[in-house]
Symmetry: C2
């Protein structure tokens, strides 16, 4: 925090100071017109106009002076602002238990191109990341678009500041693998421009949902989600990801939600991780679990198509109760103003929203905090979009410096 910042910012390095906030407003869809931009920034129309023109000159946004379908209100119609379709993109990559995926993501969380996931040998991080980066490089070559940076989402806690994967249990990587370093090296080796970032997938999903999905406008957003195995959590505070002092915050998989529950590899019993993930659901519903990489789909389909089956319903209610207990514990500590659920938890919410909300409210200490809205994630590929957010962040912070 301290330590004599020796970097005296010179005037030349700084851009127009309102440039970053303005771009963020357009990026998150909170500034559909120049008039709104003016009021959101709290500056004069003259300044907002100059800022918008500069962002347009940078090739980031588009200013439509011919509105066409006007809003219908009185007065002169405002120029519409939108992200530029042919603007720069970020390279987003994701690794999960059923393969990997690469995509190009423009401003506004718009997925421009995507390379479908391929199941591959998972043992060696360098090999897997080399492949996914190569797939991304191919997309970049095909599109001919400028790249502002790269982001990678991994299904593991990522320790800060080193960027090592602490528990990539569900992909066959070694614990402590230096994923950030490896990913950066792959990106550099492929000749891809811009910085490279790596973070946990649920954290990135939460970030993406906060900016473009179900979390928009929340000040204290809690996100809990499953993959095929295990449970992850994330917290977005005032628009910034809160990942703790060493990246390990909100690793909620080992909250105890059933003191007499099944043992967990962490040494405890009845952890959220083993009580509310897809495998737990299938076992509780007395179904035969399929291959690991389709557990999420299998359990989700089961919930949606056979909810009438007593076994399925009983299993769902059991998991909802356990999940609710875990969420209530988090609510008591974090007091979020919105909760969003992904993976199987989303399916559980949609199967019986009232039951989940009732459990959370009942187990919360304060009525107020327990009545927090609980919503489903709404973005496709939210981890991927979140990975792109990381790469976009320098541009959002200071467009001039980042694109120089």
């Amino acid at each position: 925090m301290n330590g004599k910042s020796t970097t005296t910012r010179t005037k030349l390095e700084r851009g127009r100071s309102a440039l970053g906030p303005a771009l963020e407003l357009v990026h998150t869809g909170r500034a559909p017109t120049r008039a709104v931009l003016t009021s959101e920034l709290g500056v004069t129309r003259a300044t907002a106009g100059a800022v918008a023109a500069e962002l347009e000159a940078l090739g980031l946004i588009k200013v439509d002076s011919s509105p066409g379908s006007a809003a219908g209100s009185q007065g002169r119609p405002s120029h519409r602002l939108s992200v530029l379709d042919s603007g720069p993109v970020a390279l987003a990559a994701q690794v999960h238990s059923d393969g990997f995926r690469a995509a190009l993501v423009g401003l506004g969380g718009r997925i421009v191109a995507t390379a479908p996931g391929c199941v591959a040998v998972m043992a060696d991080p360098a090999q897997v990341l080399g492949e996914v980066v190569e797939a991304g490089a191919q997309l970049l070559r095909e599109s001919g678009l400028r790249c502002v940076g790269s982001g990678l989402a991994v299904p593991s806690a990522v320790a800060e500041p080193e960027g090592t994967a602490l528990n990539p249990l569900h992909i066959a990587w070694p614990a402590g693998a230096p994923v950030r370093e490896v990913f950066s090296a792959c990106v550099r080796a492929a000749g891809i421009a811009g910085p490279a970032f790596t973070a946990n997938d649920v954290n990135l999903a939460a970030l993406a949902e906060h900016r473009h999905g179900a979390g928009r406008g929340a000040q204290h957003l809690l996100c809990v989600a499953t993959g095929h195995r295990g449970v992850g959590g994330a917290l977005v505070l005032d628009g910034r990801l809160h990942s703790g002092s060493s990246g390990l915050a909100l690793e909620v998989g080992h909250l105890t939600v059933n003191p007499e529950g099944r043992p967990c590899h962490c040494g405890g019993r009845g952890c959220l991780d083993v009580e509310t993930d897809p495998l737990a659901f299938l076992v509780a519903a007395r179904r035969e679990p399929g291959p690991e990489e389709s557990l999420l789909k299998q359990s989700g389909d089961l919930l949606r198509t056979e909810y009438g089956d007593p076994d399925v319903r009983a299993a769902a209610e059991e998991l909802i109760d356990r999940l609710g207990l875990g969420l209530a514990g988090l609510v008591n500590i974090l007091n979020p103003d919105r909760i969003i659920l992904g993976g199987l938890h989303r399916d559980l919410l949609e199967a019986d929203p009232e039951r989940l909300r009732a459990v959370v409210a009942d187990r919360s200490l304060w009525g107020r905090s327990g009545s927090v809205p609980i919503l489903s994630c709404t973005l496709d590929h939210n981890s991927l979009v979140g990975a792109a957010e990381l790469a976009w962040q320098p541009v959002l912070d200071d467009p001039l410096a980042a694109l120089a």
Copy 2:
């Protein structure tokens, strides 16, 4: 968050923009000299000089051009910066189970004057707050100092944005009492200048420790403390208090730390509140608890003077283990980079620091996050100083506007 801020900041309202950050640096002791101020602000020497001169002209700080005891390094000695002894003060008030206390607190957390706590009839918030505000008004009259605002610390969760006390269990106030409203009314009625603020005492203690005590420099500071009864928690993130979306975050008293433990009024069993507070300690140590308003002192004295006694030692170790379990749970969710303990928890830490640290490390999921430093609170009257911080905040944010 959104909603067209119609308040277009005019140029006249804004002061020198670096004024607030500069005052905060002096306030928290991070800018002992003008040269350090220059580098911390990241501005030129000319700007830092102008800012320091302006703060001096406002009567907030003192610039000692004759250093006397120089640092001994090379070059021209820098002017020393310090808060002005005769500068304005904030009125701080605290209510707890053994009475109340009023104080005047200057910049830098310096307690200028204090009115000793008086045990009084506690039933009526308006009466109690009227008395404490009157005591503060008396201090202000005696000192003749200017008052920038008032702050009140209460031993209860304070719901936002209304400012009602949700669980003032250990003082005989009704749940939901509108303490902020009542306190503001008392302050206005007494003719005391400036805005009035109200918040939870442990939150304020954490804020004070972060700025002036054991929490200085921490980015993610977790504070846990007892009063005479019950346990409170607080989190300071990047220098700002995190109290959740409705003020109810970090109400950690009802974390389960002993599934077979004694019943708690919240309906659960073995809550931190009833397992690690002074009363629990005295019972575990087989001592006769004295009057409620001296439980903290009684248990602290016992720990310090009779730690050789097997009963005392066994009780301490039991409480340390339970506290460690609770802290580990918080560490797994919040991943703080420092923990500070107050009240009996501080005494427990000092009785056997190694044991507590070992328990926390053992029950943390990640070795990294479990090795977080655990320290004692160091400030006297930290809740009182924290209450003053609330009142000082507008001045720190914009000195010109706040003192206009």
